[in-house]
Symmetry: C2
Subunit: 370 residues, 2 copies
């Protein structure tokens, strides 16, 4: 299966995730939420529940409602903002809203917000009446390049991130890049961490391009941002189309995530943004790859420097190697007790590895976590 | 796709649900939990969480643990007994137990109990780490003939039954018919309601056989019980294999259930057993079918008499036609506002119908619910 970018009106890009009858488009463009015709053609359900949060609602709820147009029955549930609220309790509030609105199997959920909203709204849609449709309207860079695409939905458990969830593909992803204008700088940068990830794991040329356009991306220049999002979605689409349920290849999308999950859990959800933890985690993964003799030290250092130029943390918090190792053991990528890690064979090529040198891992954990 | 019954050792019956790579066996026999070799060959996961309840644990937990054998890492969670506990909160306790035991993607959940345990354990397995394996060990007649087979998992919402759930097929179903010896008479009879359902919707000859062997079934005679369970599983296997996710045919398995859900919700979960509510609901469905001129009155009356001989309630509670209609509207089988009902064209042939005469429905609701 391959990913096809189709012709589209000026300034609107379209990437398709090819998954047979579950295929769907990612539509990307500045001002998409103002393009009523585009949105209405993408969203077919008559009855909708919009799930959003207290930060996004004042900014974009009205625009989303207008874009979805008249002739629908639309309800809304507004959740508190933040990773700390990515819980079964919040999803339970979405279920209540679905039931209160008497929504049936032909209704759809619309996720308007960042990754937390998308993950929870998608999970609620996966479970309500054993599965109804949902639409992603991501409003953060991280959601537009990563979490809204690919059908992974989840909530956190007090003892581990994303431990409860489902694979449930959205009907479409509608990414209005204008919504990034209101994104706090720290969150914008956190999104860039996942963009760098795509270069590191899959596309050396894209990494080079990011390196050459780092300043334009930091300045949020339209053309650069659009290109970065589109290429990120293309890479994710290719990987997901090949391995929807993460039996193999898809796991490379978790570069830096196992280390990052340990950081997020040890410091408490919300202290480090997900993208920040992934940035520091990718530094650990790159360093381990170098120590194992896979990744040239110069390439590791280039990766670290690019993350630094994007204003991302490259030093892990001193949570201690022992605690870090323990928390990594709760990560979903552990199989049969052996921790599998995503490592870099070179810039642009990642691999999931279980037979690495355990001493090298311990050294890296001690060097970075203390 | 067809259902194949394979040769098996004496007294052990095997029915296969044909679902491609998700195919699995239903193994039925007296004393199966004592057949360590059979159980061990069916359950391959090394790490297990057994989910059971306070009633079943003292009776069969030790036997199940022994049957699963040594060389595994087995934890247990014991939940309170009853439909009132079929909630997201109970499933949350299963998640906690999975996390506490540090179980990973290669672990499996074992549901040891009736339909409530099976539905919750299956739903937890569907969501934990976005889906791990599970095994059904049904200990009630209702679970052995219906709820443990077919991959529907769910919990109740305060405003409606099974509103939150997933389609997630088990790896196998291990039905030890000896466990029925300890089943309270009321629960045993409730299971017979679903057995009658299979005759009514799919197999007139099976209905005749049930009619002829009603006394043996009431007396729980081994040969009759085995045959009733096996034929029920065969019919369910055929229907599920044709329509796993209930896009069409599978809905006929809900004969009486939309009326029954209204009874269960109005009277509070646990007051009426599910099978009892289904029995009374099937009477309504049969009566409506007769009033619409589909089902001869004599056949309706035969169905009612068989349910009565099984000691099942055939008179609905007087919850009022208006409330009943409102609660039926929250049932998942409502599509686009129009209540779809499963009706009988004849004994042994059911159909999902949306274009029935609404006046006839109102008359039936008023006649039965007051």
């Amino acid at each position: 299966m391959t990913t096809v970018r189709q012709a589209a009106p000026a300034a609107i890009e379209r990437v398709t995730i090819e998954l047979g009858e579950r295929s769907y488009p990612i539509v990307i463009g500045p001002g998409l939420l103002g393009d009523t015709a585009a949105v209405q053609s993408l969203v077919t359900a008559r009855d909708l529940l919009i799930v959003t949060n207290e930060t996004v609602a004042p900014l974009y709820l009205e625009a989303a409602q207008r874009a979805l147009g008249p002739g629908r029955r639309t309800s809304t549930v507004v959740l508190p903002d933040g990773e700390t609220y990515k819980t079964l309790e919040s999803v339970s509030r979405i279920f209540d809203a679905l039931v209160d609105a008497r929504l049936n199997r032909d209704a759809a959920v619309v996720a308007l917000g960042g990754g937390v909203i998308g993950d929870m709204a998608g999970f609620a849609a996966a479970c309500y009446q054993r599965g109804i449709d949902y639409v992603q309207m991501p409003t953060t860079l991280l959601a537009q390049v990563d979490s809204s695409v690919g059908g992974k939905t989840a909530v956190n458990h007090p003892q581990g991130k994303n431990l409860i969830g489902a694979f449930h593909q959205p009907r479409c992803v509608i990414a209005d890049t204008r919504t990034l204008d209101t994104l706090p700088v720290r969150e914008y940068r956190a999104g860039l961490a996942e963009v760098v990830k795509y270069g590191l794991i899959y596309d050396a040329a894209f990494f080079e391009w990011l390196d050459a356009h780092a300043e334009a991306l930091v300045q949020r220049e339209d053309a650069a941002v659009m290109r970065a999002i589109r290429r990120s979605c293309e890479i994710k689409a290719q990987i997901v189309a090949e391995d929807e349920r993460e039996h193999g290849l898809r796991a490379i999308l978790n570069l830096g995530h196992t280390f990052g999950h340990a950081i997020e859990t040890a410091t408490g959800y919300g202290e480090w943004l997900h993208g920040e933890a992934v940035a520091a985690g990718m530094v650990l993964a790159a360093d381990l790859s170098t120590r194992l003799g896979w990744l040239p030290a110069a390439d590791r250092d280039r990766a670290v420097r690019l993350l630094e130029r994007f204003g991302l943390p490259v030093a892990a918090p001193r949570i201690g190697a022992t605690q870090a190792r323990e928390l990594m053991g709760m990560d979903k990528k552990v199989l049969g007790g052996r921790l599998r890690l995503v490592l870099l064979r070179s810039l642009g090529a990642a691999e999931v590895v279980a037979d690495y040198d355990a001493d090298a891992l311990r050294e890296v954990l001690e060097a970075h976590f203390g």
